[in-house]
């Protein structure tokens, strides 16, 4: 009896009578107090344990995201109303009630009313359908398709004739269509055979716009945002990208364009483009490794090319993974220091290699060092400092689990021993919104055996885009977290704080040794330094970007 009442305490809608009864019990009945206290403890443990069970089942089934078989049914789907005969009196006690027979006259009246309502619904639906059909007929494509949407992530819309529709894979794009991506949206667009565009978050691209007195199949206008272009040399006439400030003619190349209100920045990956500044008509030929900024009000297109890319820090680099192998089940350590700590992919079918570098983890698996990370242990313990760096792109989906999803880890048992953990999500993963934080645990003299309390970023820091993460811990006890070169959180530990690692642990990526804390997304670079990088080095590593992807646009997978 009291247990049912205690259950109700944790559910919304505790009635006034139930509240009064609960108060009475807790005020007057010592036994009830004791039972209640134990009940709360038990319920809390059950939530914790079922969370772990749910994660284990999810992993065992190999499913990601919602499992249709076990997905929560929407509350509205539960039948309600007079036809429901089982009436709930109190949780767990349901009595069957007699539904009084409906009087014949009232039944007839209800019958007529229902018939009327049904007829109105049918007529309304018919009119609506007719209207929609008319609109569909009017909106039927009369223009030939120039391209098609090949990939959609997050919010992506296509605007045509003043109407906005959600883009889907295979969505045909005709001249005059506009593709718009939301704050976390991404659209991959295929243009003929072998030509690909990647429209990044918060961007707007108009297809087939007339340019320089010509119209043609290879014209787009980027009104704002970021676009990555990958064009095969065969396209004639040249592909043309227009921005408010510049006209960029492309003959077989890969490059990125970033348009803001003030300027257009063009960055070359390979090949050559010719940029014309609209303000002056001045031409600039841009080659591989160069970039140009074309301003809105500047009289001359500013060319800032040929400058070397910032160089990544190399001193005290302990391990470096570039994910450029392109195939296989091994990720080689490219740090070039001592014995390499290569990684093995436990389930190669769960990942895919990206051309040019990058490993997409599509299903939970573990990348685990082939031997224990003793070299890393010895070097970092000797220095007493550490930097963990990752270039990554989190997947839109997260695995429902009660723990932070591991990106980088050195641990034996997540419940009792964690030397290091860089993860997505903090301890509260039950609500999806909370998995939008990054967190770091580092086992030091100021933290527990599992490195808690963690250093966490703000909620919303995780975005499904190319992201640069750096965590540093120095001997003075200062810990900092950088995202895309900017410090987002920090804390000061006591100056005598030292690393308190356990030896004999493996290095793991994308999961924990227990394989129940999987992370999904794409890894481009992971590095660990046995030194706290300076702010300048953090900025340089960010500026250096990812080879082939640098600095802001990831190519289409």
């Amino acid at each position: 009896m009291s247990e049912e009442l205690f259950e109700k305490y944790f559910e919304p809608g505790l009635s006034a009578e139930e509240t009064a009864e609960l108060k009475r019990l807790l005020r007057q009945d010592a036994d009830a107090q004791a039972v209640f206290a134990r009940f709360v403890q038990e319920r809390s443990l059950l939530i914790r344990a079922t969370g772990q069970l749910a994660a284990a089942r999810q992993l065992a089934s190999g499913a990601i995201g919602e499992d249709p078989a076990s997905a929560p049914a929407p509350r509205a789907a539960v039948p309600r109303g007079p036809q429901r005969r089982a009436v709930r009196v109190r949780r767990g006690q349901h009595r069957r009630v007699r539904v009084p027979a409906v009087q014949p006259a009232r039944a007839r009246a209800w019958g007529w009313r229902l018939t009327g309502i049904a007829a109105a619904v049918v007529v309304g639906f018919g009119l609506l359908l007719a209207g929609r059909l008319e609109r569909v007929r009017l909106a039927a494509p009369v223009r030939p398709a120039l391209a098609q949407v090949a990939e959609v992530r997050g919010q992506v819309f296509v605007l045509r004739d003043g109407r906005r529709t959600a883009a889907r894979t295979g969505h045909a794009l005709a001249a005059g269509d506009t593709v718009r991506t939301g704050p976390a949206g991404h659209a991959g667009i295929e243009w003929g055979i072998g030509h690909r565009l990647a429209l990044r978050a918060g961007s707007e691209l108009r297809v087939g716009t007339a340019a320089a007195g010509r119209t043609g199949p290879g014209h787009v206008r980027l009104a704002g945002g970021r676009l990555h272009v990958d064009i095969e040399p065969s396209l004639k006439p040249p592909f043309l990208v227009q921005t408010p400030h510049a006209r960029i003619a492309v003959v077989g190349t890969r490059f990125s364009v970033h348009v803001t209100d003030a300027h257009t920045r063009t960055e070359m990956d390979s090949g050559t483009v010719r940029i014309t500044a609209k303000a002056t008509g001045q031409d600039v030929e841009l080659r591989q490794g160069h970039y140009a900024i074309t301003g809105k009000d500047t009289a001359v297109a500013a060319l800032a090319g040929a400058g070397p890319r910032p160089v990544r820090a190399v001193r005290d680099l302990a391990v470096l993974y570039r994910f450029e192998a392109g195939a296989g089940a091994r990720v080689p350590d490219r740090a070039g220091v001592g014995t390499p700590i290569d990684l093995r992919i436990l389930d190669p079918n769960a990942v895919s290699w990206l051309p040019g570098g990058g490993l997409r983890v599509a299903r939970p698996t573990t990348l685990i060092s082939e031997q224990t990370a003793e070299r890393l242990f010895a070097a970092c313990m000797r220095r007493g400092e550490i930097t963990v760096e990752a270039w990554l792109r989190p997947a839109g989906d997260v695995i429902p689990q009660s723990h932070p999803a591991r990106i980088v880890g050195i641990a034996s048992d997540p419940l009792s021993n964690i030397n290091l953990m860089l993860a997505q999500g903090s301890v509260s993963e039950r609500e999806r919104a909370r998995s939008t934080r990054y967190s770091v645990r580092l086992r030091t003299s100021a933290t527990s055996d599992i490195g808690e309390p963690s250093l966490v970023t703000r909620t919303g820091a995780v975005q499904p885009r190319l992201t640069h993460l750096i965590f540093t811990h120095d001997r003075m006890g200062r810990e900092q977290f950088f995202i895309d070169g900017a410090r987002v959180s920090q804390r000061e530990q006591p100056a005598d704080t030292r690393l308190r690692w356990e030896p004999g642990r493996h290095l793991t990526l994308a999961n924990e040794m227990t394989h129940d804390r999987g992370w999904l997304g794409t890894l481009y670079t992971v590095a660990i330094y046995c030194r706290a990088l300076t702010d300048e080095e953090v900025a340089a590593n960010f500026q250096a970007g990812v080879p082939g992807v640098q600095p802001v646009a990831a190519r289409l997978p």
Partner: protein, 207 residues
């Protein structure tokens, strides 16, 4: 209330009341930061349950404890040897619970202060340091027992506690009656309790 405190003191004669904090008047040496943190983490599950009892939201409860530990990291020097770590940290968790209650405007907690106080008192009184320290073991035992459940029972349990579905919703999903779901849930809980008690006893025996 006074009577209950008196009873508590009778059960534990070493306990004094100093101000509003329960302390132990023994000559314990001052702990280091590491020791304080380690000691506090022993009670993590119990502290989450404590916060959960007050907040009625398990995620918020986890947050409250996490934030309390962050405070502890800064304030560990304020720890006095005569304090019990559990009650001291529990006080920090309580402050965080209050902050969260206010900030999240959880009316059902803040509106009925009397119920909030009664719940707090019941947990304070009946979950002492020893009981709190056993929570970690209890969780291990529970996990072992859950692994032995059949798929149907496990599914109902997960749906109810983790997915937060009501019995009505689970019944609709499984095409069973609501009573059948409730009975299955009750039976599973009972089974788990018995199994966990056995496992705990075995763990104690091994020690």
């Amino acid at each position: 209330m006074f009577f209950q405190v008196f009873l508590h003191q009778k059960e534990h004669p070493e306990i004094d009341r100093i101000g509003d904090e329960t302390t132990i008047s023994s000559g314990m040496p001052q702990l280091t930061q590491r020791e304080v943190m380690q000691e506090a983490f022993r009670y993590r599950e119990a502290l989450i349950a404590y916060a959960y009892g007050l907040l009625r939201d398990w995620s918020l409860a986890e947050d409250a404890v996490q934030e309390a530990f962050l405070v502890l990291l800064d304030k560990w020097r304020e720890y006095k040897p005569e304090y019990k770590v559990y009650t001291w940290v529990r006080r920090m968790v309580f402050y965080k619970v209050q902050e969260l209650s206010r900030s999240r405007k959880r009316e059902q907690v803040s509106q009925d202060e009397e119920l909030f106080g009664l719940v707090r008192h019941a947990i304070d009184r009946y979950i002492d340091e020893d009981a709190a320290a056993r929570q970690g073991q209890m969780l291990k035992a529970l996990r072992l027992c859950m692994a032995k459940l059949d798929a149907s029972a496990a599914r109902i349990l997960v749906s109810y506690y983790w997915d937060r579905l009501s019995c009505d919703q689970i019944a609709a999903q499984l095409k069973r009656t609501v009573n059948a779901v409730w009975l299955a849930l009750s039976r599973t809980r009972k089974k788990l309790r018995q199994c966990a008690a056995r496992e705990l006893a075995e763990m104690e025996a091994v020690r």
